[in-house]
């Protein structure tokens, strides 16, 4: 009979608890998201089938995978003008990071002020339905 120290037992218990937490009751945390994804794939393939004869057809799942394979192989490419998806996403993320940081630095102190002042909260009511594109300077 192998002896199991209490500490080892506790460790094993913790690992089991963590796995159980990730999986959920009866693995529901894995099964149901997978099911949802599967349903989306089925709807996609049905619509692709229905619009097959149209001029603007939805690409089938197989065609999408086939077409994206070269881009996945080119994932980390750094060639100028032909960057891989990874670096394109990184460029976008860099812009989002800068813009989001500036917005947070402005918005949080302003929010404190607006929350404490009646007049300021009335003034911000005008900006509430501010539409995203109204202040957009189009770059040439």
């Amino acid at each position: 009979m192998t002896s199991v120290t209490p500490i080892e037992k506790k460790k094993a218990n913790n690992v089991a608890k963590f796995i159980g937490k990730v999986l959920g009751r009866g693995g529901e945390n894995i099964i149901f998201p997978a099911l949802g994804f599967f349903v989306v794939l089925i709807i996609w393939s049905i619509i692709a089938k229905l619009t097959e004869s149209n001029l603007s057809k939805l690409p089938t799942i197989e065609k999408t995978i086939q077409d994206s394979i070269p881009y996945l192989q080119n994932f980390f490419s750094t060639t100028t003008g032909d960057e891989g998806i990874f670096f394109l996403t990184l460029y976008s993320l860099g812009r989002v990071a800068i813009g989001f940081a500036i917005a947070t630095i402005i918005a949080v102190p302003l929010g404190f002020w607006v929350g404490t002042s009646q007049k300021a909260s009335k003034a911000i009511k005008l900006a509430n339905p501010f539409l995203p594109w109204h202040g957009y300077p189009l770059a040439s």
């Binding site: 929350g115 404490t116 995203p132």
Partner: protein, 143 residues
């Protein structure tokens, strides 16, 4: 090199992100401040707290969950808007890629980049939720 922002084409995109993602954080923070119990203000008055003390010891701790729900909404908006902004500014970025493959007629690649954008958005949301869990202790919204 990658993060060499403030090039000509980056400025409008960053400006759009700032202008669009400002509001959810601002409104949520203001709501959080308004929801602070009046007892807290009375305590601040009794202890004769300075303005700075009121901010650091009352406002920030009690509005942090509201700020983070605002930040999650804001980051979602920012990631949504960058794709649209990059379609117009062009050059680099995932939004430009979508525009590029759309103009080439490869709708299958548009769907592919849709999946990439969705995955990155999911990761960003989880990142903010993780930071919130680190700072606040629990998340306000289910991720």
């Amino acid at each position: 090199m990658i993060f060499s922002a403030f090039e000509n084409q980056d400025l409008p995109a960053i400006f759009v992100i700032v202008v669009t993602s400002l509001w959810s954080t601002l409104i949520n923070t203001a709501l959080g401040v308004q929801k602070i119990p009046s007892d807290y203000w009375n305590v601040a008055r009794v202890l004769k707290m300075s303005k700075l003390q009121v901010v650091t010891e009352i406002i920030i701790p009690s509005t942090l969950p509201y700020i983070f729900s605002g930040l999650r909404l804001s980051l979602g908006t920012a990631w949504l808007v960058i794709v649209a902004a990059e379609m117009l500014t062009g050059g680099t970025g995932i939004g430009f890629f979508v525009w590029d493959v759309y103009n080439t007629g490869d709708i299958s690649l548009v769907v592919f980049s849709l999946l990439v954008i969705g995955l990155v958005g999911l990761l960003l949301d989880q990142l903010v939720a993780w930071v919130e869990r680190l700072l606040v202790g629990q998340t306000t919204a289910q991720g």
